[in-house]
Structure formats: structure tokens, C-alpha cells
């Protein structure tokens, strides 16, 4: 069996056995369900209701998915180093690249499974209450959540290789999560209002943050006039337009997955075990 596959299998098995997957799946599911049912009752279970529900779930996903992926990614390497298992693994016939790709693949699949269980379970319950007329948006929401998970896991692993302890890595990941998820949108809008930023600079601001990329991508997949997904998105849609932005954001999201992981591998290679 290829070493990447061996590590991948171990990571998936560890995730299934550990409690984090169940805890996060239940959290995702319960919060999503409550949010969906509240939205459905306020909209009298209309067609637009499901659309709004999906939009609300996206905001929830933009908060929770990066949180999960950052935490898991930050612990991935620093935890192994702290336990001494990193050295033990690297003393085997495996390269740093194979080890890290195997870990990334196993963890991202475990996170996807958690998202699928949580949001998927909630989606099925909502479908029982409300007739599904908007499956496409829900599928889009799930796919974007998966991409966001991969990008933020990749950043989490980059944080992990730079940290010399698991706790330090986790606290650094929390700071990055707060900046990217909570602070960024507000700060960007503030700057835009202060300096009357151009569409181009706002687009760069969006691309510099994978969470914003996903948010804007989803705005474009819904309706441009939906106002529940944040002010930065509205700016970009108005200034740049849908067509130009959509392909650029999709490409940049792929880069957000590939680049942090590649840098993490390079750093780990040059780091003594």
C-alpha cells in the first residue's frame, strides 16, 4: 500500500473513533436545524424560505467550518511532534510530503463527513417540514462548505508546522479564525468607507481571505440582491460584476487549498524531526 494511503486510512480511522467528529456533527446538525425551522416558520414555508434558510446556513457554515478545520489542522503536526510520534513516523520509509498529504487527505475527508452528517441530517429534517424547491442552492452550499474546510484545514496545518506546541498552535489558529471570520468583513468595510476603495482593491480584499471568497461565491450563486451575506459581498458584486469575479474566486479558492499546504510541506521538510 502506498504510504499516503496508509496515513490517510489511519487519519480517517482516528477521526471516526475520536469524539470530535460526533460532537461537531451534532453541533452542526442541531444549530442548522434550529436555524432552518425558525426561518421556515417565519416565512410560512415558502419557496423563498428555503432560499433564505440556505443563506442563513451559509453564514453559520462560514463560522463553524473554519473553526473546526483550523482546530483540527493546527493540532495535526504540532500534536504529533509533542507526542514524539512525528519522529517515529519519519524514521520509517516515508517522506515528509507523503506524510503531510496523507494527513491532509484523511483529515479533510473526516471534516467533510462531519459536515455531511451535520448539515445533511439537518437538511433532511427540513425537507420533511418544507417542500424542497431549491436543492441546487443547498448542494452548492454543501460543496462550498467542503471547499472552505479544505482551505482552512490547509492554513491550519501551515500554522501547525510553525508551532512548537499543540496549545500554542491552537491559540494561534483561534486568532487567525477570529481575524478571517469575524474581524475581516468589518475591517474591510471600514477601510472601504474611509478611503472610498475601488472595486479592484475590494476584490483583492475578498481574494485575500478564503472565507470571504466562499461568502461572495455563494452570494453570486443565490441572488445578487440578497443582503444577508455581508456588506463586502455587495460592494464586490456592484463594483466588479458577477462574471469576472466568479471564475477568479473559484481559481483563488483552489490556490487557498494548495499554497498553504505546499508551504507547510516545505517548512516541515526543512525542520529537524
Amino acid at each position: 500500500m502506498h504510504p499516503i494511503m496508509v496515513i490517510f486510512r489511519k487519519e480517517v480511522r482516528d477521526a471516526v473513533r475520536s469524539r470530535w467528529m460526533v460532537v461537531f456533527a451534532l453541533t452542526f446538525g442541531i444549530v442548522a436545524l434550529v436555524l432552518s425551522l425558525v426561518q421556515a416558520s417565519s416565512d410560512n414555508i415558502s419557496v423563498q424560505g428555503f432560499n433564505r434558510t440556505t443563506a442563513a446556513l451559509t453564514n453559520l457554515s462560514l463560522l463553524l467550518v473554519p473553526l473546526l478545520a483550523f482546530v483540527i489542522g493546527a493540532g495535526a503536526i504540532a500534536g504529533e511532534r509533542e507526542r514524539g510520534t512525528w519522529t517515529m513516523l519519519l524514521s520509517q520509509p516515508i517522506t515528509v510530503r507523503q506524510l503531510m498529504i496523507g494527513k491532509f487527505a484523511g483529515l479533510v475527508v473526516a471534516i467533510w463527513a462531519t459536515i455531511a452528517l451535520g448539515f445533511g441530517g439537518a437538511g433532511m429534517v427540513v425537507a420533511l417540514v418544507s417542500p424542497i424547491t431549491d436543492v441546487g442552492h443547498y448542494v452548492m452550499f454543501s460543496a462550498l462548505s467542503a471547499i472552505l474546510a479544505a482551505a482552512t484545514l490547509s492554513i491550519g496545518m501551515l500554522i501547525s508546522v510553525f508551532s512548537d506546541g499543540r496549545l500554542k498552535a491552537l491559540s494561534q489558529a483561534m486568532v487567525v479564525w477570529f481575524v478571517l471570520v469575524v474581524l475581516y468583513d468589518l475591517a474591510a468595510v471600514g477601510l472601504a468607507l474611509t478611503f472610498s476603495a475601488s472595486g479592484r482593491s475590494l476584490l483583492i480584499a475578498v481574494l485575500a481571505n478564503p472565507v470571504e471568497c466562499v461568502r461572495i461565491f455563494f452570494i453570486m450563486s443565490l441572488e445578487p440582491d440578497v443582503d444577508v451575506l455581508g456588506p463586502l459581498g455587495s460592494y464586490v458584486i456592484n463594483e466588479v460584476g458577477r462574471g469576472t469575479a466568479i471564475s477568479l474566486i473559484a481559481g483563488v479558492l483552489v490556490l487557498w487549498i494548495v499554497i498553504p499546504l505546499t508551504v507547510a510541506i516545505s517548512v516541515a521538510r526543512n525542520h529537524d524531526a
Binding site: V6, R83, T85, T87, L89, S91, Q98
Partner: protein
């Protein structure tokens, strides 16, 4: 099997290993000795490609610096404190490492049995004692029947019977034409185990050669504590006569003898023959940090 040329490892301005050269042929056992902090573990990490270093390490002709994972396929490594994933069972751990080494599941099972852990196969690694973890580490190191076995302080924490078992295992490897490199600061084991000795001191190679040429290196001092019935005076005189090179001091009831490890039994035997009643004996084996190196061949100070 193993050729090491000009290996240097620096941590900032500190030279942890400085320009070390040696070689190890198949069917031979090399003991790397030196006090704590001499650089034994760092050298082993260089051999495995776990740290970046200057110089060249060839394992069966494969350059560790360039092709580390291929070289490691030929190495079985037992670290001083083997660290495994605590939530895996013994059997799962052996299987996981067997997969990494492309070894069959039955081989993993046999490895666990060979080190006497078959009854603990379903126990989680986190529940194992230190000695059991060491045995699991040995099973993992030997999974792929590697032509080069590297053991870092394998005798640490082992009782005498386990140390004898270790000697047997190393002898078996030699018989199978496998090379073994082991680091130790317990010098007494060296003449029984190794063909060659590499002595390190503060990262520098101070001796490399045959064990036979390095009796002075390996014949270390032991601390022998003896309590006898009655007056110590006669016993002290006798000890000085039997082992004239030894240092004898008296502390309360105890006679403390610093002597060559090989002289311990002779001293006790003479006391018994002289009808001196020996009430108690304790032995502290010297480690290389306490031993005085009197090297037959001094390496040119590198």
C-alpha cells in the same frame, strides 16, 4: 552497509556532531559510546535523515541526504523512548507500521509474538508499561527484517534478563549477516555485544576501532558496596590486595570499592574464601560519563 563521511550537525553555533567518519560492514556490530550529551542520538538522527546535516551517509549505497525514505527502508530503528499513538492497540500499531514498510499482516502478528506481546495484542499502547513499549518498538524495528538495525540506548530501563535477551538478539542479527549499530552509555555490555566501537565526546569522534583494541575504553569502573560482619580492616586489606588498582573507601558499615567491572566477582570470591562473612552487596555499574577513557588510538582530535 553503512558509510559515514564527514558528518557534521550544527545547532546554531554549537557543533552537536563534528566531522565524524566511520563505516559498518554487514554481519558486524558497532557500539557508539560516550557520556550523555556526547552526540550519540544526534548522530543516529543524521543516519536516519531525521535532521539536516553536512557530510554523507550511505546506507547500502543509498544517500540518506538525497533519498532518505529509500535508505530508511533498509533500516530498523529503535529509539530510546519509542513513541506510538496511544489510542491504537499493540496489534494495530504493528499493522500500521507493517503497512508503512510494505510488510504483510502475518509478519506483523509474528513480530508481536516474537517480542512476547501476543497476550497484550489488544491492549492500547497507552496502557503498556515502558518495558512493553520498548519491546513493541523492537518488534516494529525488526518488521521488515532490515539489513541495518539501529538501536538507541536499547538497554535503558531493562532488567538484567532483558539485557541478556538483547545481547542474544544482537548476536542473532550478526549471525544473519545483518549490521547493528547501537548506542549505549553502559560500557559493560560493549565487549559482549560489539565488534567495533565508536567513542564520541562532545560531538567529536575520539576513538573508532575494534573492541579488542579498546579494552581500556570498555573496561569501565564499577562501584561495589560491601557490608561485612565484624571489623572492616581485614576486608579492606584483602580487597586492596586482590584488586590493587581499585580505590577503596569506608563509609559507616559499608566498604566502597571503585574497581574494574571484571574484578567485582573476584573480590567477593576472595572475601568468602577468607571466611569474611559478607552481609550485603550492592553494585552500581559505571556509565561512560563516569569512566576514564584511556584510548589506545587517539583520533586526530577532530
Amino acid at each position: 552497509m553503512l558509510t559515514v563521511t564527514g558528518v557534521t550537525k550544527r545547532y546554531g553555533k554549537l557543533n552537536a556532531i563534528e566531522n565524524v567518519d566511520f563505516s559498518l560492514a554487514a554481519g558486524k556490530v558497532l557500539a557508539v559510546i560516550g557520556p550523555n550529551g556526547a552526540g550519540k542520538t544526534t548522530l543516529i538522527k543524521c543516519l536516519l535523515g531525521l535532521v539536516r546535516f553536512d557530510g554523507t551517509v550511505l546506507v547500502d549505497g543509498i544517500d540518506v541526504g538525497r533519498d532518505g525514505h529509500r535508505a530508511r527502508a533498509k533500516i530498523g530503528y529503535l529509539p530510546q523512548n519509542p513513541a506510538f499513538h496511544a489510542d491504537l492497540t499493540v496489534a494495530e500499531t504493528a499493522l500500521f507500521y507493517a503497512d508503512l514498510k510494505s510488510v504483510s499482516a502475518s509478519r506483523a502478528h509474528d513480530g508481536v509474538t516474537a517480542v512476547g506481546l501476543a497476550d497484550h495484542a489488544h491492549k492500547k499502547v497507552g496502557e503498556l508499561s515502558g518495558g512493553m513499549r520498548q519491546r513493541l518498538g523492537l518488534a516494529v524495528a525488526m518488521l521488515a527484517d532490515p539489513p541495518l538495525l539501529i538501536l538507541d540506548e536499547p538497554a535503558t530501563g531493562l532488567d538484567m534478563s532483558a539485557r541478556l535477551e538483547l545481547r542474544r538478539l544482537v548476536a542473532e542479527q550478526r549471525t544473519s549477516n545483518h549490521a547493528v549499530l547501537l548506542s549505549t552509555h553502559w560500557l559493560e555490555d560493549v565487549p559482549y555485544i560489539a565488534d567495533d566501537v565508536l567513542a564520541l565526546d562532545r560531538g567529536k569522534s575520539v576513538f573508532f576501532g575494534s573492541t579488542k583494541d579498546s579494552v581500556a575504553v570498555t573496561a569501565s569502573a564499577s562501584q561495589l558496596y560491601i557490608r561485612v560482619d565484624g571489623e572492616n580492616t581485614h576486608a579492606v586489606e584483602l580487597v586492596k590486595h586482590v584488586a590493587p588498582e581499585s580505590v577503596v573507601t569506608v563509609m559507616g558499615d559499608w566498604i566502597i570499592v571503585s574497581c574494574l567491572a571484571s574484578e567485582k566477582a573476584k573480590i567477593v570470591e576472595h572475601l568468602v574464601v577468607a571466611a569474611i562473612k559478607v552481609l550485603d552487596i550492592r553494585v552500581e555499574e559505571a556509565v561512560s560519563g563516569q569512566a576514564t577513557f584511556t584510548l589506545p588510538t587517539q583520533v586526530d582530535g577532530r
